[in-house]
Amino acid sequence: MTETLERRPHSVEVPSASLIGTSTARKEDDRLLRGDGRFTDDIEPVHVLEMAVARSPYPHARILGIDISAALEFEGVRQILVGADVRKMSQPLTVLRPVPGAPKLPYYALADDVVRYEGEPVVSVVATSRAIAEDALELIDIEYEPIPHVSDVLDALDPDAPQIHPGLVEGNLMVTNPEGTGDPEAHIRSADVVVEGRFRINRVTGLPMETRAVVAEWRPGARELTVHSSTQVPHLVRKQLAEVLSLTESDIRVTASDVGGAYGLKLGIYPEDVLACLHAMALRRPVKWVEDRMEFFRATTHAREATHDYRIAARSDGRIVAITNRYATDMGGWNSGFGSAQLSSVVFTGPYRVEDGFVERRVVLTNKTPIGAYRGYGQPEVNFAQERLMDQLARKLGIDPLELRARNMLRPEDLPWRNPAGAVYDSGDYERCLRMAAEAVGYDAHRAAGRGPRADGRYVGIGLSSFVERTGYASARFLAKRGSQYGAHESVTLRVNRSGGIDLYTGVSHMGQSSETAFAQIVAEVFGCGYDAVRVHGGDTASSPLNTGAFASRTLIAASGALKAAAEKLRDKTLRLAAWCLEAPVEELEVNGAVARRRDTGATVTLADVFTRALTGQGIPPDEDPGLESTAHYEPTDAAYSFGTAAAVVSVDPETGDFDVDRFVMVHDCGVAVNPKIVEGQVRGALVQGLGAALGEELRYDAETGQLVNGTMMDYFAPAAPDIPPIELLHTEVPSPVTPFGVRGVGEVGTIPPAAAIANGLCDALADFGVELDSLPLTPESVWRALRGSTG
């Protein structure tokens, strides 16, 4: 390494009787349990109209003509827009996170000349009901001329492939992003052993149970556009809508109260958000659009699809000397708001000590639904390639896979460590997680038992997968270098009220991550009041300070700093006012539940009294301003890296390929857990998404027609309760030195290790058959095919 990274001791001390670290009841639960949540489709303004969208049935086609005349006559239809209208009324959609070095590929909310994926919006209709709007769609005649399409990522790079954005992108390759350090090629040439493989990652969807939805209301006289949106990022939606609609941000209010799952799919605007606003502004009536599930499968960003060419070079003692990973991600037909997964580069060397490494992302266009962010965002993909190859390396060298991992893992004293992609791992004990996972599944006993079938003819294997996960963003400076249109910070406003409570305003919307609960815990802890005294108002741009939003496992990392600073500021003034009331020196005072109290005499004044004095300006010291509120912003200094190891015990029938995951253990460290129950829920939930993607989820396109063949809830495998293998979770808690309270992000980690751990378990079980699995999902069929292929 060319520089010395400063080692920072972890200095935040969390008192043992603290609310932080307690599984408090969730603030969100009561309304949701009683059916009183407020999801976007629950919002029904008077005189609301509804929108439906006609979409391309072709993956690639020229639009020759659109005849809307019959639909315009249909009773109940209020307005129809086509691409040419939208070009006049709005700007192209903007992206929040451009692909560095790539053309931005701006596009309008409706296709005008060429459609580039099945499901691309072509016409929008607004009518007095959704049913009537859909009836009208049936009357619209769109003439298409299909043109050759390409569905496969590697096919798209063929020089003879159909060009998806001719003139803008050469050869369907949007950009190549290389990163690395040292001279890995030299090490590979001289290494004792090199393993390499091509790993195919399946295209999946995050599949939130609530689809996307928007309600737009325009009051022209007030010049006020109110947009209720099922989004993770209300303030960024406001920014994008202002750009696309040529309004000022002052003209727009975005609210997102309850969001029914998002997982990265609801980051920023989609064409339908723009269309609903255009219709609402033209008609001066509220317009609602709720995506139906058939639309969802085609119109909301997909995820993951990639091909990784991964190589590991090592010495005969197992020490890794170099890693390279060249991978191609499928972008689909357009650049989505967040672009294709990039974290496959950031953590491509995983938890291992590797100084010479090279990673290269190629972003490739195909005629499929655009790819966007989804929980894990590149980390499950690269983990599959890396951890599959670690096992192949172990077999080649005759070293136990666990020992090979342990031998190469960074040690606590090696951290902080800058990996070849420039990521700085902050702290951790990676090997401890590995050993704990091995112990939990009885790894040694399994190895000692030797190979061979069980009494039922099945072979048993254990697979490991170790990982490091980036959570949060380093800083705004880091983001600026990549052209990202948002900051790294979070912000919060606290205001007191006369009832003795604290109103907490945040731009973070509720989507299941329990931010209301965790935020209130931190404020109550720092301020000293009761947890129930804090009321969280989330996701409304009209009341919250500008923030970034809930994604990238960053919310709590950044927000905890803002919450702490705001609560301290509020507490300090509260104590000054209380000291004046009680005629005491301020050093003698503390907030204790609903009162401020003199430590020496025990005299108290209620918070309601102090707050009322502040809000009326009556009965406060002459040198104090009235009012009592605070706003704080917090910019993280570094990303925090969570880590862990998963171990899967699988049993497989070598005749049929049928297999079961008998046990799945994960040991994980997310630093200090603000609320252990929430942490457990986040990890389990993400694990089940990871298991789904590993074991069956896949969006399949027919190569001939280019159409999605399983785009319905019935046809897409999403795990239900009986489909889940038994999951055991263990945690370690190494506080991160780079975040307030020592937290790390926790929302995405579960998606990372399942595929590799299970594949490694299968290959371990079937080692005598020479099976190496390299494609996802893992199904009895794919195992059977691998068995047939390898045994000839």
């Binding site: 009841a25 969730r26 969100e28 639960d29 009561d30 309304r31 949701l32 349990l33 009683r34 059916g35 009183d36 949540g37 999801f39 489709d41 629950d42 029904e44 049913a131 995050g206 599949l207 939130p208 149970m209 609530e210 689809t211 309850d258 969001v259 029914g260 799952g261 997982y263 139906d292 599930r293 509720h510 989507m511 299941g512 991550q513 329990s514 129950k677 929430i678 457990e680 829920g681 986040q682 389990r684 939930g685 993400a686 694990l687 089940v688 998404q689 319905t712 809830m713 019935m714 999403a718 239900a720 309760a721 009986p722 889940i724 999951i727 579960g750």
Partner: protein, 169 residues
Amino acid sequence: MTDQVVVTVTVNGETVTEQVPARMHAADFLRHRLGFTGTHIGCEQGVCGMCTVLVNGEAVKACLMFAAQLDGCQVETVESLATNDRLNPLQQAFKDEHGLQCGFCTPGFLMTATALARCGRRLSEGEIREEIAGVLCRCTGYDGIVKAIARHLDEAAAAGAVPAGGTSR
């Protein structure tokens, strides 16, 4: 449209008569006509279970029924479960066991479990998982949901009481 149907239905104990389009499904009717927005819609294909309600005591997917088919029926939705500000024991079990995150699927699970509890039987974890396979959750990984339902079934079986208005299957 002339294809209108008159429906008289009792929802959460209150009888209403409404004229509705013949093609309107029961979930849309409950949500957008009667304002019971706790019943959610996730696929309109009978797969995801977000719209599960009780019709004459049976858990059904309201997106697969026409509003017209509710004529003369007793319907219970998630809004019927709590009493004033008090969660019922099933809701409380979901809260205690962290059986919900985003909460969109929660009404579907609560109504499915309500029907299950009225059978008055304890079920194994595996049986519970099979019984709730018709409702999908993408947040929790099902663990908290299964624990909450198991606890509630144990409590309900121990109490031995079938709630008023319920039917045994």
